[in-house]
Symmetry: C2
Subunit: 187 residues, 2 copies
């Protein structure tokens, strides 16, 4: 009865193993791809080493090294944070954006599409559920879209400029930030 679940877990492992070794063909390592990808999708409150650490379930030391390696390769830039002088803002450079156009994850997405035909939505829903459970079981953070957060306060169309607001950080939110994923997001 639990056979299917174990088989599914084993398949998940093998798919990730094979994808991982494929990712290694290039000048970026798997962990570096993960960080670059994350930074491209994260809002401005989340583009720092600590948020990356929470996202990856890793440790500060490891993430620090990975970010330094990415900076050395020219794909990200680090600048001291204004909000918190202990912290560092990590931004994807133009070179990094170009690199992401050849993200190996796109190849995996192609496999998913050709394997599942026109129903990749089911796969997405299924994997989202598994991830949610995994995160909940390990005290991790969901990193959902800012717009779907409990602290997200949309403002009426009467105000121009920065229409939305975060009730937790007490900061205004651009449309871009609202669409991106956030460390602090709570459903």
């Amino acid at each position: 009865m639990t056979d299917d679940a174990i088989a599914a877990a084993a398949l998940l492992e093998r798919i990730s193993q094979l994808t991982r070794t494929e990712e290694q063909n290039g000048d970026l390592y798997p962990a570096q791809w993960t960080v670059l990808r994350f930074l491209a999708r994260a809002n401005r409150f989340s583009r720092n080493p600590m948020a990356i650490t929470h996202y990856m379930g890793s440790t500060r030391g490891t993430v620090s090294q990975t970010v330094i390696a990415l900076e050395r390769k020219g794909y990200v830039a680090r600048t001291p944070s204004m909000r918190d002088k202990r912290s560092v803002d990590v931004e994807v450079t133009e070179s990094g954006v170009e690199k992401l156009a050849a993200d190996p994850i796109l190849k995996l997405a192609e496999e998913v599409r050709s394997a599942l035909g026109e129903q990749p939505k089911q796969a997405r829903t299924m994997l989202e559920k598994i991830l949610a459970n995994l995160v909940a079981a390990n005290g991790g953070r969901p990193f959902g879209q800012c717009r779907t957060c409990r602290h997200f306060k949309p403002q009426s169309g009467t105000t121009k400029g920065q229409p939305h607001h975060c009730g937790l950080l007490e900061e205004d939110l651009s449309e871009t930030d609202s669409d991106a994923i956030c460390v602090e997001q709570v459903a």
Copy 2:
């Protein structure tokens, strides 16, 4: 339209990343778990470094090191192969079997089960399709069950002892070997 496929690929990546870091809590590294797990499921023609290399999509050198590390830790034993003097048979020891009882993949299986309720079969089927595509696209080997192979020749119940036979390797097959996965398996 391709959004769901990309999202699914990203979820696959994140699930594997988080699972991976969890696996590291113990005296075995992710690659070592993969090898130990594989050896426990592989038939006798597949319990050698070269088969492991094909399974993981890795290289001989890397696998060699991982197997040596596992031997040092006492979870596998290496003996020269009779069939091919260049080759080495790698067997899981009793200690290795005990270790596998605490396989972290069982925890992932638990997440899959609790996330998907009583329909983990759909997840299994879906992931099997994705893996098949991934393997086909990269010239890898499927590592299916020996019994489902093109070269598998079941013998009638009249003969006792070794009832089945492999037409490729011209070797008799026990029930255990027939149920296990094989490097040479072809659908």
